[in-house]
Point group: D2
Chain length 433, copies 4
């Protein structure tokens, strides 16, 4: 298979080919990887399908390198090639539980893509499960446990999920390529060459330090530049409010019979099956949104149009000190005729670009270890000044969203509103005098 | 706007910005540029929106170059900058009339994207028309006439449609980038630099010969490699048969009330409005296909699943001499339990990579003229041996499609069927003895 | 080793590492791959060293693919891995006999880089020979015979020299990268994947047809665009005349004692040793040219300045019919005060982009064979219309070079001269009336 | 002119074309940009010529952007287009004073490329000066003053030399391209678009923050990875010692008459003219080194061979605490028969990746200012956490160099020597017990 990131994706095992041909996996073609981000970066129209085969390919290359350079001869902490198939399947299927606009959808309907991934792997009704079961009866559960990080072999687990894994490496390169930014590039080939298995997981030779550092910095930059972009987040806010409104209308029986969004009903009723979930994709949701553009509920109709026709809210950053001013802003928005519940929002985006292990911390992570010439380890941020600078700090911002109409010069409450805005920040007009 | 092909797309005119923000244009985000091709080249998930802004950007660059280097001082055949806006709008909107899976959809429902483009531009009910009318009352019609090639200024017409125009240059580069093939690349910057307006349209300085030649060859290679790929064509065959079956079922009143594909009804009834058409996109069609996977009509259900879950037909090439054998193959397919009307097809794909003007020919084209140092013209194929080799010849192939199941080793009629196949060609088994 | 074309060059054998570290190989760092071409394409400053390690890397990748996919089990026409080292060494060393500005130098001094390659490999005085001999006493001769195409295993020979070999594939990609043109690109990875050994050499699976076709076309375009560029050829003409003049001056004892170009003496005297030859590089020749800029011989001094300071001759194309006019042009050049022997030249450049085997022909070549699904072969130009168009035809041009001063508007003989020039062609002014 | 970094370099002014055609500028073709670095990164064979035209091209693009977007209407701190030519010439010529292996050569012979640049511009004997004088009598001095940073218009000065100037932007992109590393890439086009002139120099719109940050980080990474590479520094150490030895031999009259390196004599005698300097290039120096390979002085001969045939010294890092151990190491090297004066060295490489203005500091720099929406400025490190982390800190290392032979297992003093080495650091063997 031709691929713009990896040139080719080599499928050597019939199990992998059969998994790709299942309907659950083909469904990923109809779910965009970056959700609303292509409203900002129009090139970013790639799907979770494309990313998933990319993660498979990187996993395959890691397995090949490990088998070529570090084959285990038994109990030596090196690579046991019998782990290959479970690693490849986990790489390919790690995102199989994602649905349309996952983040927002989960928030509104209480679904959980990680549980759904496990369900798709282990439920006998799916084609994916049928393919996996042919390998062995407990194979579906094994693949699921890799994704859940409970699999005993930490090398396999860390390949798929750690601070530098096949998933992240593929999405950085791919999102960078499709958005056309060049922040996400790093030297994949060198990182792969310098990876090596050891007793407790995966390490890198010290000579890969700069390549690994560059990967961490690239990741940090992609978050700042692409994933946290205010316009994409604004579109997500609108989507969130749109689904919330639909849920409210359903609860209050305001959908007419011939307009019922049939495929969403089980979710409105909070009583859905795996089969219901697997029918959803971006197109299904958008089809309802198109329908709602003619709905007699003004808010539903307006938000649907804003979402489909890309009319994002505007936004400003705020901090603890200015957060208390937000109710004043919401009041002015209400004066302009917009229900603040549906037409304003606060939204924060924080990323922990890299972290080290500290006993007692909330977010326990597998830190990146480099192996020196004499076989001893050193943790990445101990040798990289750049990584050190961003280690353990949550970076991001908190934003307040509001309709663009508030930026008009008239009427008066608009001008009042704008006194709270300066250089992309929420300020206290009182303190400016 | 960030763009992977042109780095940035520069929107300098508020008219262009307003056009991009219309709902008719935003709808292009939900229609993939290459239809079914991403079943073969999984990276090719880009939309007509992305391509359209790219065509705008190339048009803008041509206008800038013309204005910088060849500004008209009146009646000298050079560039009149008052043509700029009509050119930019035509470049941006040339594909606005496309719907989901255009080629097949048109074939089944008799829609015509060129007429629909004109309708969207000139119908007072569209947002696009409202934006264009603000420029001047006859501006919508002017833009339409550029796309219909009836606009008086041939420089503007040829920018948008000729054998080397902004449309083709963008889609070659873009499709090449997103598929990850490198056949479609050529030196856009040099071609743009060497373009120049003259009395009867657009010409190129002779020193651009190799760049233009490379563009023609790249185009030829993209057709052979990507656009004519048998698997994509096979998916199109399935889509065609699926919609045909749906139409047949509708005609014979086999759709149950609660399963009616509402948004398609006007097309089944051959009585649709522009508003009906503008509600369609890839996701809407796919949503019906998802629904049809549970339909009790076995053929509809099976074809919908094949389309959604990517189960292409197999195919072989045939020529005039072997065409007569196809009924024999269809008979064997029928024996296997597949209705040949829905499970086989012939499909041809031919491209005319480059052509010269010859009085009396069917396909009249604007040939590519190069300007020599002394101001005289010479036609491209007269100086390029490579272009000469493919000028005026239709290149492509004709294929017969059938279910993959015919390649099994059992039962007997499968083995019989396979006697007709050799090295991707249909052969006469009788002649092989 | 980091490489811009192949990302990394992997040295796995100590023999290869030792060969790279010999002084004869390190000397290639000081000889530019494209000779005078960087006067036209200023980016093309790469050396034969860089190209040679690239050829090694492609050869290594071919050997790896062959060993992985087609390991011989004895007398089956597949790949015998004992051939690996001889192939790698031949790939690395195929250009070791090249000196500075090879083409011109050979022409003037009668050296022969192929013979010199063999001498460097087999002469006991070189470090290269010492490294090779450690493998086995007859190993130097074996490597030499691969380069001379007399080695019995045709798979090894064709890897290094055939119409699609590691040498050509590296230089096309590399020259394209460094010149910044994009004509030389093709899908190396696909070609390598689809290569396979067979009894009589190397073949390609039919599904590589388009990639191989693209390689042939790319090669054709690089010749037309880069290798045959008139300005580079003009610089070569100047170099040729400069060395000719120096030889003449030496013969007529016009070099003063303290100005003798010591390292060139053995070549003036036509009595040079291998050691003499290995002292030469681009810098040595240029150093003499710098010295000659102060020489009292006006022609030597002027040509040296033209070469070093890039003052190329102008040129026009001519054909058989107009060749007879050249003496008239030379007469006018002489009237302008330029000795036609040193200030004019004719120079032809022809390439045979692809050829097929025909008994009785002069240029016998190994044609490119594609293997079909049933194991039968088909020759490339039989399936590719583009390749067919350029098969067996010598493509290129013949040019007449003259000083730029002839293009001035005065005096009269310049204006007379210019009557012979039209649109880059030599014409007969008499026939224009 | 085709260029791999900027696609094309557009020469629009005859002054620029004439400058490129001077012999002083053409000489830059024969001087490699990165000196000894291509011994580590073999692709890095590009010359100062290539870089210089690149700096010109970026300068041209800045001038174009300034003139298009910020043309001065008198005394408004915007761009005065009469400054264009002086900016372009300064960009093109900023490196004209460089000679072969500049850094080392200057160190040994006390030349100064900045003074030499001024001399080449202002001395009436050079072709460069003759071209510049045609513009106006004081034009050569004006161009020189831009390069010396004394020119009154700070916009022009900062274009050519500041923490983010045309010089640095070109060499980062170019060195990255030719080495094949991808650390040096950043979004040139965005930076150029967001640059704007103001009263005191050049600033950037705040929305370019991430692009500017990325440039600073890229620069930091290139220093760490490429410019400070221990092997290149080792080759420079050898070159330094080689020239030192030659100077010593000359001083002690050890060069035979027919072996005198004529073109170096004026430098040995510390009595050179501009004309002498302009005869030097990489090739001239290498030609002497080739000659010295046969010299009877063993040290000169050995160092020349090490330099030409790439036999670098090995090295380890040390810090203040371990510096005192170096004499012990030198003693062991001497025991191995190597004169420590010529066979060992310490060498430090430090870079100040970014700095802010602080009154009273030694290294006063123009800090990077970003302009916010309300027109106020903010300094880069105040908004970028990554830049903050490396601001004002010298980053790099100090290394001790020694012959590779010290790493052999025998004799005893080698094993003793190795006790001082651990994980690329100099350690105190006594403290390890």
């Amino acid at each position: 298979m031709r691929d713009p990131i990896h040139s080719y994706i080599y499928i050597q095992s019939p199990v992998i080919l059969d998994l790709i041909n299942t309907k659950e996996f083909q469904r990923l073609r109809r779910i965009r990887q970056l959700g609303t981000a292509n409203s900002t970066f129009h090139g970013a129209e790639h799907s979770r399908f494309t990313h998933s085969v990319g993660v498979y390919e990187i996993t395959r290359q890691i397995c090949d390198t490990f088998q070529r350079n570090y084959p285990s001869k038994g109990n030596d902490g090196l690579w046991d090639n019998r782990e290959r198939l479970v690693a490849l399947c986990a790489g390919l299927l790690h995102d199989i539980g994602h649905g349309p606009y996952s983040h927002t959808f989960e928030h509104i309907f209480g679904t959980n893509h990680e549980e759904l991934t496990a369900a798709i792997l282990t439920s006998p009704e799916t084609e994916v499960n049928q393919v996996l079961r042919k390998v062995s009866p407990d194979f579906p559960q094994q693949v699921a446990s890799v994704i859940q990080k409970t699999y005993p072999n930490q090398q396999v687990v860390q390949m798929i999920s750690s601070q530098i894994d096949a998933d992240r490496m593929d999405y950085l390169l791919r999102d960078s390529y499709y958005t056309g930014t060049n922040y996400g590039t790093f030297d994949l080939q060198r990182i792969l060459r310098m990876m090596r298995p050891y007793q407790d997981g995966i390490t890198f030779h010290i000579s890969a330090m700069h390549a690994v550092e560059d990967y961490i910095i690239s990741r940090f930059q992609m978050y700042q530049q692409v994933y946290f972009h205010p316009v994409s987040r604004s579109m997500e806010v609108i989507l969130n409010h749109l689904l919330l409104r639909a849920k409210w209308l359903f609860k209050h029986r305001q959908f007419k019979a011939n307009n019922t969004p049939n495929l969403l009903l089980p979710f409105f009723e909070n009583n859905f099956s795996l089969k219901d979930y697997l029918k959803l994709d971006d197109g299904v949701l958008n089809t309802y949104f198109i329908d709602w553009c003619d709905n007699q509920d003004k808010i539903l109709c307006d938000l649907a149009q804003r979402f489909l026709n890309r009319k994002p809210f505007k936004s400003i950053k705020f901090e603890k000190a200015t957060q208390q001013l937000i109710p004043q802003l919401q009041l002015l928005v209400a004066q302009a005729g917009f229900d603040p519940q549906y037409y304003t929002a606060t939204n924060n985006c924080y990323d922990l670009p890299y972290d080290i292990y500290e006993p007692g911390k909330n977010h326990q992570v597998t830190q990146i270890k480099l192996m020196r010439d004499d076989g001893s380890f050193i943790e990445l941020s101990a040798v990289s000044k750049l990584v050190k600078a961003i280690t353990g700090r949550f970076l991001g911002d908190e934003r307040f969203f509001f309709p663009k109409q508030m930026l008009k010069t008239n009427p008066l409450f608009c001008r009042k509103f704008q006194k709270y805005l300066k250089n992309d920040w929420l300020i206290d007009p009182a303190s400016q005098v």
